[in-house]
Structures are given as structure tokens and as C-alpha cells.
């Protein structure tokens, strides 16, 4: 078969993707005994240019716009689809490379092909130009994202550095009371951990924990600092502020207990769930505080593969 697609990247994707990845599974069909007079309505209401004709789960033909026009020109006499449909139907199998579909569309000048399951010959979908384009674009987007992650991935630093133990330290300075900028550190740390190739679930847990801690800092203190130490097995996060301190840590840990001012509550925070949320996200948490001096929250998240769990530890 002559290759119609010249762009090498698209050709490559065309071989990688299968027909099933781009086909439309929404089946609109008619039976051989359906009257021709009904075809126009089906084509119009579904905005398609051809309909597969099905008899006992088997594809027996296709009736398309051209068949309809010919029938109309010939006087539109009362007859069934079976008499006017095209019986030599070009089909594709779900497991064929997408490039076959692209080539066949070019070769025959059709707009769509019925797609069959190879094992039982049953009609399972249709493939159209639109579907092919959508399938290719989707794949390109996924590839691009993966490439971006690879490009940024700095996880090899741990292997490249020659030492008995390697750790990376990231520091973020947080301005208190500045609600518009609150969360910037958590956001930055999230991107950094992603670039390090950290497991997405670990990134999520660490980001949520830091975000909550950062919020507390912004609400109660004038300034503070977040220090994150990443080594191959765990992430240690320390959030320290020079705020008013917590008089009763045990009480502060209770879900729903809050001393946050009203303006914070109006913004959807300060409902007394912060510390509790952090606890759910990390493997270990220690809070130390001196009234009048400040608070220090220390958290650990294990990053070893086997400790990764997708389970949500209860809902808040």
C-alpha cells in the first residue's frame, strides 16, 4: 500500500496507535429491511454521511449519502435499504494500525469505515477523519507531556552524585498575612518534586501538607520559612514561623478547633481542619510551639515505592 502520510512523526504514531484508539464506539445502524425513506432522517439527525447496515449482528452493507441521492433521482420508490445499499464494504479491524485507516481513507476517498472485531466479525465502531485527527492529537499531547517530564526529570542526581548519602534541600520564605501569595511555596515545591521524578501520589500528599502548613503560617504569623530535605527514601518538611505560638497543641489538633479570625474563614480556610489534614497526608508529624515565640511543624513523607498508597485515609 502506498504510504500517503509523509510526516515521519505522524507515520510513527499511525503505527503505534490502533484503529480502536481512534474509532467512534457510538454505533448508529439500520437494518436491511429499514425503508429508504428513513435514511435521510438518520443521516441528518446524527450528522453522518453513511450508516452501517446490520443483520443479526453482522455487517451486510453500508448506505451512504450517495446511495440516498441516487435513490431520490431514480424516483424515490418505496423500497428497503437492502436494495440500495453498497454491499462491497471496505472494513477495518480494531487491532490494525491507525495508518491503515488513514491510507484507506485516502485510497477510497471515503469519509468513514466500519470497524469490526477480528475474533467474531462483529461491528464495534466506525472510524472517521475527525476521529483519526482527534486520536492523533490526543496521543501527541500525551507524548509531549511525557517528554516534558523526562526533560525536567532530575531524579538521576541521586545516582550521579558520589556520596554515601545524598540529600537535596529546598528553602522557601513565606510572608505572613499576604493571602494573595499564600500557597506559592506549596506550588513551587510541587513542581520541584515533580521534576525530581517523585511519585505523583507522594507529590500530592507533600503538596497538600505544605499548603495547609503554609496557610497556618500566613494566617497567624508575620513571616516564616519552609525547609524541605529530599533524600532517596523520604521527604522531610519543616515549617517554622515566628508567630504567636500554640498554647494547647492537643486542642489545636482536634478537627474543627480553630482560633482563626473571621476574614480567614470567609476565604474558606481556618475551619480547624488544617493540622488534621496534614496528619492524614504525612507519615509522621511533630508540632512544637512556644507561646510568644513561634511554631515549628515537622513532617515526614516516605518516598519508597512500596509505601505508596492510593487509598484515601478517610474523608475530612
Amino acid at each position: 500500500m502506498t504510504p500517503y502520510v509523509k510526516a515521519p512523526k505522524i507515520r510513527e504514531l499511525g503505527y503505534e496507535l490502533k484503529v480502536r484508539d481512534a474509532m467512534d464506539r457510538n454505533l448508529i445502524t439500520v437494518q436491511p429491511e429499514t425503508p429508504m425513506s428513513k435514511v435521510r432522517g438518520v443521516l441528518r439527525s446524527n450528522r453522518i454521511s453513511g450508516i452501517p447496515v446490520i443483520d443479526k449482528n453482522k455487517l451486510v452493507g453500508v448506505v451512504c449519502v450517495e446511495d440516498l441521492v441516487n435513490w431520490l433521482r431514480a424516483g424515490a420508490d418505496n423500497c428497503s435499504v437492502e436494495e440500495k445499499m453498497s454491499k462491497n464494504v471496505v472494513t477495518l479491524y480494531t487491532d490494525e494500525p491507525l495508518i491503515h485507516a488513514i491510507n484507506k481513507l485516502e485510497q477510497y476517498g471515503f469519509f468513514h469505515f466500519p470497524v469490526l472485531e477480528r475474533s467474531n466479525g462483529e461491528l464495534v465502531g466506525t472510524i472517521t477523519r475527525e476521529g483519526i485527527i482527534r486520536g492523533l492529537l490526543k496521543k501527541l499531547e500525551i507524548d509531549y507531556r511525557e517528554e516534558e517530564i523526562r526533560h525536567y526529570r532530575a531524579s538521576h542526581v541521586f545516582e550521579d552524585m558520589i556520596a554515601d548519602k545524598t540529600s537535596l534541600i529546598f528553602q522557601y520564605y513565606v510572608a505572613g498575612q499576604d493571602f494573595n501569595r499564600a500557597g506559592e511555596s506549596a506550588s513551587a515545591l510541587k513542581k520541584t518534586l515533580k521534576r525530581l521524578g517523585t511519585h505523583p501520589e507522594i507529590v500530592r500528599r507533600a503538596a497538600i501538607a505544605v499548603y495547609e502548613a503554609e496557610m497556618n503560617l500566613v494566617i497567624f504569623a508575620r513571616s516564616g520559612e519552609i525547609i524541605v530535605k529530599v533524600d532517596p527514601n523520604q521527604i522531610r518538611i519543616e515549617v517554622e514561623d515566628s508567630g504567636p505560638g500554640i498554647p494547647d497543641i492537643e486542642k489545636a489538633m482536634q478537627p474543627g478547633y480553630s482560633t482563626a479570625p473571621n476574614w480567614v474563614r470567609e476565604l474558606g480556610f481556618g475551619a480547624g481542619m488544617g493540622l488534621n489534614n496534614i496528619k492524614k497526608c504525612v507519615d509522621e508529624m511533630n508540632v512544637t510551639s512556644t507561646v510568644g515565640k513561634g511554631t515549628r511543624v515537622e513532617m515526614y513523607v516516605a518516598t519508597k515505592k512500596e509505601s505508596v498508597s492510593y487509598e484515601v485515609k478517610g474523608t475530612g
Binding site: A186, A271, V312
Partner: protein, 121 residues
Amino acid sequence: MNLAKIKEILKADLIVGSSLEREIKMICACDLMSDVLSCVQTRFSSLLLTNLIHPQTVRTAEIAEIPAICFMRGKEPQDLTMDLAKKNDIVLLSTSFSLYEASGRLYEEGLPGCGEYREAK
């Protein structure tokens, strides 16, 4: 269900975002950001319905990996909120329905809450 369909159900306006193709699996309707952070399962896309229009709503969505937010009662977000959404590729919608009405309409269409969502086998 994709965002385009949701936009239709909620008769919502698109405020920020270019693609409405994104598939939404569940809904989080909430004005308490800590609750959003604690209950969203980020592996599956969810839509956040909320009354809060300040930048922290988008920040919360970013941290919790929520791809889209819909504001209630026709509220339009501040510029800072929109900028942050653009930067993080988060879609912003606005509907004239209330939180209760919008939730009910989406639930009726079969979209589960994030606490009850189970991956189809």
C-alpha cells in the same frame, strides 16, 4: 462527562480556558478549602463547585490537581484569580445556579461526589 456537557447542564459561562474536552469523573461542591484538599481523589478529574472567587480557590485546585472550577450565582472572579487559573491551565466557569441547584442538576445526570466515586472495573 466532559466539561462542554457540564457547561450546558449548568448553563454556565466560560471565563478561563480553551478546551472543554476534559473528562470529569466526579464533583466536589464545597466552600471549605481544607475539605476540598482532604477529600479529592486527584487521580481522577473532578470539578469544584464553589462560591469562593478569590485566588486561593485556584491555588487549592492546583495543589489538589482539580482541572476545573465553577463559580455559583453568576460570580465573576478577580483578575488575580483568572491569571492564576491561566497560568495553571485550570478551566473557570460561572453559573447563575446556586451551589445546591448546580449540585442537584449534576448529580441527577449521574456525576458522583468525590467521596462515593469508584473506578469502573
